[in-house]
Subunit: 198 residues, 2 copies
DNA sequence: TCGTATCGCAACTTCAAGTTGCGATACGAT
DNA sequence: ATCGTATCGCAACTTGAAGTTGCGATACGA
């Protein structure tokens, strides 16, 4: 953890406040949900006054977008087992695990439903997804090089096909999501890719 | 001529008020979006007073859930062309068309993002999806009977696989959604089904 | 130690949600 | 045609959170 020195004005205690408010925002999100998230409660939980929050963030939406973006910035390791099936399974299960923990549920609800209409949140959501997609593409290109998948498959399409059924259950049908869901997505994706449909 | 006397109190003008408020709610949704939807504006657009709305609906959420549920209750024709590929294409395109019109966008945003955290909305959303799924299952069973798809495929899984990539684009990636998306979903779904992955 | 940026605090405005009481009106039935 | 009742319009109200402002207090860096 390096204390950020880049701004011409080293903030001082500001960094701690920022971190505390971020943590409090996510905690309130988990406990109360997006609709019931008030700046006053967040400030109180962070041990900070309401005005301090408003001095750092324009409004409640900006605060939430900022906290979520920072939370989702965590790097996810890209698997490289030497077998597509295992790599894809690892990717699919990581999606499942990201969103099935209690806090994951809350983050999912905030990013994809509760606050999805906010431009900042929508942009952050697209950015996070696109980033993870781009970083996982080597899984597919390596599989092609190994001859496990036909040449000409679109890595992005493969990964979207992998993710789609999981998000459908999370966001639309509300069916239970577990490893079975991930494994099923892998089977379907591989079948489609090998049939030349991707 | 009397349609129903079962309620001891035939409401009278109430039906018209109800319809007007429903229409106004959807119109406000399209114009302003969920976040900016106020009961006062809805009432004014419906030519009705605020208190009248609150006498019929417990709160804003209930009103919205009611209006959306009624709006989504419209029956969608189940295709039966004699060829799976054509049937599935018709289904996929109907999903696309439902949510790409201006009003469709607004309804999508309200049902899946803006108001998704409300129990009434979430329940309505699951119910609508499950209903459409169940009514479309004959498309798959007929295809199996014709020998177009292998025995043992799960109709529900086939239809979910068809819908998943469309919803992924609508709700997650925000990529453009058009007939191409629908046709691509058909190709992937058929490939997976014929490979025995569904 | 001293200056400055940041924070705490309280009081304030604004806005929409939701409520209440009462008078007005339209409907259904006699 | 009239009469009783349920529904509606209206205005005034409470509540709660968003967001703002001014000032005094405090912690940090030099």
């Amino acid at each position: 953890m390096q204390p950020e020195q880049s701004p011409a004005r080293p903030v001082g205690r500001g960094a701690k406040v920022r971190a505390a408010v971020h943590a409090a925002t996510l905690a309130e999100l988990v406990d109360k949900g997006y609709a019931a998230l008030t700046v006053e409660n967040v400030a109180q939980r962070a041990g900070v006054h309401k005005t301090t929050v408003y001095r750092r963030w324009k409004d409640r939406e900006t605060l939430l977008a900022d906290a979520l973006a920072e939370h989702m910035a965590a790097d996810i390791p890209v698997p490289d087992t030497g077998a597509v099936e295992d790599d894809l399974r690892a990717l699919a299960r990581s999606i499942v695990q990201t969103f099935t923990s209690p806090s994951g549920r809350a983050v999912l609800a905030a990013m994809f439903t509760g606050a999805a209409h906010l431009p900042e949140i929508a942009a952050a959501r697209r950015r996070v997804f696109a980033d993870r997609l781009a970083r996982a593409e080597p899984v597919v290109t390596r599989a092609v090089e190994r001859g496990e998948l036909p040449r000409g498959v679109d890595p992005a399409e493969v990964l979207k096909t992998l993710a789609a059924p999981i998000y459908l259950r999370l966001l639309v049908t509300a069916d239970p999501v577990d490893e079975t869901t991930a494994d099923h997505a892998v089977r379907v994706t591989l079948a489609a890719a090998r049939a030349g449909a991707l």
